[in-house]
């Protein structure tokens, strides 16, 4: 019914390729988040699923029908638009009930549904307002209500919560999840909010420059990013990257060395690699005991502190390790490391500290191609194995 498939779909504008040979299979009832940098082709992908944009190449399937050239109304999709697109000449009630009225639902049914949808988005009592009499967030909620009053096979939501405050977002998030469970509808969801993507979706599709980079359950994307792009994109603040080289002793760079047996992790010696480590996997030596398998201690100086309330981001300047044999090229920006600590930690700016990394959380990428070589360098003690992840992503 509601499964969506894109087969070699591309969309070219005059001089821009918005979507580039995209293959995407979304199962019936699945909740998929599309994430990626601004302008990477998320909205275009949605529009092609909705039928608003006809692909330059490739085919689109919904259910078992090819719908590539089918008009939107016959595709059984509902959509929340990034630009909201309320009908300015209709009040909230008419905006929300538009699709139902088109389908000649009877008055009571419409009333009932509009009422429910407007409660979900907390717009009760505003049904008679015109769009230009509402705040940005209220408009966005109308747009959401307009989509959810219907019972489509597929929901397409393009940044539906962008204009809402944190509290309402959390509320809407749970409501959407409840709706998803209740209706068992496929949802394709674009968001730039990591928390949303992580908590709501069954799988996340990471897109860059119109190309699909990885599509996997959120934690797999987080813990085992397929490549440098995904690793850098997922997670906020971003993963730390250090360029270096594989030697017989493990990873060597201008500032950090990490010892391991290259054979164990299956990376040949001499390769240029980039090591990745997330801020929360960097620990002060005081907290070393929290880490089962730490690296050797790394000396650093704290630079800026960014208190966030529930955590503090600490920018570290790394001391240089002595590796005259490393080429100049790969040295750049290698001396910074971001670390997150809990707000009650006893830390100040401009102090010398020692940190350790969680070896199980160290990622290695091929510097040239960006492809992930290894997640965790002591393969035996990994938190969630890639085997599990693959199993999950198969269903």
């Amino acid at each position: 019914m509601g499964d969506v498939k894109l087969e070699h779909v591309s969309k070219h504008y005059d001089d821009v390729t918005a979507v580039d040979d995209m293959n995407l299979e979304i199962n019936d009832g699945e909740f998929i988040c599309l994430v990626g940098p601004s302008g990477c082709g998320k909205s275009t992908t949605m529009e092609m699923i909705a039928g608003l944009t006809i692909p330059s190449e490739g085919k689109v399937f919904i259910g078992d029908r090819e719908v590539t050239n089918l008009p939107p109304k016959d595709r059984g999709v509902a959509m929340v638009f990034q630009n909201i697109a309320l009908f300015p000449h209709m009040d909230v009630y008419d905006n929300i009930s538009f699709g139902l009225r088109l389908r000649n639902y009877d008055k009571e049914e419409i009333d009932r549904r509009v009422e429910r949808a407007s409660e979900i988005v907390q717009l009760g009592g505003m049904l008679e307002r015109m769009p230009d009499e509402m705040s940005g967030g209220q408009r966005q909620r109308v747009a959401i209500a307009r989509a959810i009053v219907r019972n489509p096979d597929v929901f397409l939501m393009d940044e539906p919560l962008a204009n809402l405050d944190a509290k309402l977002r959390v509320h809407m998030r749970t409501e959407l999840q409840r709706l998803h469970k209740e209706l068992d509808t496929t949802i394709v969801y674009v968001t730039h909010d990591q928390a949303e993507a992580m908590t709501m979706s069954d799988r996340i599709a990471v897109i860059d420059s119109g190309q699909l980079q990885q599509i996997d359950p959120p934690l797999v994307c987080y813990n085992e990013p397929a490549n440098l792009f995904v690793a850098g994109f997922i997670g906020s603040p971003s993963m730390n990257f250090l360029d270096g080289e594989i030697t017989e002793n493990g990873f060597v760079s201008t500032n950090i060395d990490v010892e391991f047996d290259p054979a164990n992790v299956g990376v040949e010696v001499g390769r240029d690699v980039t090591m990745g480590i997330r801020p929360e996997d960097v620990y002060l030596v005081q907290n070393e005991r929290q880490v089962a398998n730490p690296t050797h201690r790394i000396e650093a100086t704290t630079d800026v502190l960014e208190p966030m309330g529930d955590e503090i981001f600490v920018y570290l300047k790394l001391a240089e390790e002595a590796h005259a044999d490393l080429e100049e090229a790969s040295v750049a920006a290698n001396d910074q490391l971001l670390m997150s600590v809990s707000p009650d930690s006893d830390i100040e700016e401009d102090r010398d500290v020692e940190v350790v990394l969680d070896r199980t959380r160290v990622h290695l990428f091929d510097t040239e191609t960006g492809i992930a070589l290894s997640h965790g360098i002591e393969s035996t003690i990994q938190a969630s194995g890639p085997a599990d992840a693959e199993a999950e992503s198969d269903d």
Binding site: K73, V77, L86, H89
Partner: protein, 319 residues
């Protein structure tokens, strides 16, 4: 404005007390330029009101003056003869002509708006090969003086054109003295203008709104009539008013496609001309008739202007 001279020439360095009203006004105006705009606005408004309304006033002067006295007219009526507004109906069944004009105008307007909406949508929002050629072709129809259409159309509408398909020959129906031979040419001749107007207006509606309607389940046509047309209300209303008035005033086909009788769907222009004798012209009756004839249009404009002018509330076209 009368204070203009008194203000000029008073030195700017003089004390506030000595300034003329204009000086003070200028002073305030400099502080608050809005006053200047307001003033300019009122001057312009009054100017336009006077220039547009004066001929109507004069028409009224003519209507109220007995025809025999219409000579060496000044700015006031010579004599006062309000019963002219009754006489005009006694002379000619003017209301019937007005009715005809209304029927012709409204049916043409409906046809034109419908067809032009479809075409305007196509030209304003779709891309397809042959678009520019077709637009130019449609435009080119309005290049021709109406007389260029007359003879063939007359033949067509009086049953003198035959279509032969093999052995069967169908001749066109005789529609003379019915509304059709006026409504159809009006529709065709006024269509290009409406198509162009609607093309520009429809073209400016953000795609997002049409997209939203289509995803909600309308066809493209549904989106046209439920979203694009209402949002283009000023344009549609304008096209409608322009078409209606054009029909209301048309005199070429109005004249030759019927025998000039109210019962034969002759429109208002024929009615007005009916007052005219071969040599004598009752200017007062014609003036009265035109005032009466223009009134319904004024009503129409009042009704339509709400659409034309405030069809959209602020910020309506936000994406």
């Amino acid at each position: 404005m009368s204070s203009e001279t008194s203000g000029v020439g008073v030195g700017a360095d003089d004390a506030e007390m000595k300034r003329g009203p204009l000086g003070r006004w200028v002073d305030k105006a400099i502080k608050n330029p809005d006053r200047v705009y307001r003033a300019m606005f009122y001057v312009a408004t009054v100017f336009f009101l006077v220039t547009t309304l004066f001929p109507f006033y004069w028409l009224l002067v003519l209507a109220l003056t007995p025809n025999r006295l219409i000579t060496n007219m000044g700015l006031l009526p010579k004599g006062f003869q309000p019963e002219v507004f009754i006489t005009m109906f006694e002379r000619v069944p003017f209301h019937l002509f007005m009715f005809n004009s209304f029927v012709l105008g409204i049916s043409t307007t409906v046809i034109v708006l419908l067809i032009a909406s479809l075409a305007g949508y196509v030209f304003g929002r779709l891309r397809f090969p042959g678009k520019s050629i077709l637009m130019l072709g449609i435009l080119a129809i309005s290049y021709f003086p109406p007389a260029a259409f007359l003879i063939p159309l007359f033949e067509l509408f009086t049953g003198n054109t035959a279509l032969s398909i093999g052995a069967v020959t169908i001749s066109s129906p005789d529609l003379f003295n019915t509304p059709a031979p006026m409504v159809l040419p009006f529709s065709a001749l006024f269509l290009p203008l409406s198509i162009f107007i609607l093309t520009t207006f429809y073209g400016q509606i953000p795609d997002g709104l049409e997209d939203a309607a289509r995803v909600e389940g309308t066809t493209r046509l549904g989106a046209l009539f439920r979203v694009i047309v209402p949002l283009s209300a000023p344009g549609v209303a304008t096209a409608g008013v322009l078409t209606f008035i054009a029909v209301y005033n048309e005199f070429f086909f109005s004249f030759l496609m019927n025998n000039g009788e109210a019962s034969s769907w002759a429109p208002i222009v024929a009615g007005i001309l009916k007052y005219q004798g071969q040599f004598d012209t009752p200017f007062n009756l014609m003036a009265a008739a035109s005032i009466v004839g223009v009134l319904p249009v004024a009503v129409l404009v009042i009704i339509a202007q709400e659409r034309i002018v405030s069809g959209l509330t602020a910020g309506a076209l936000k994406e």
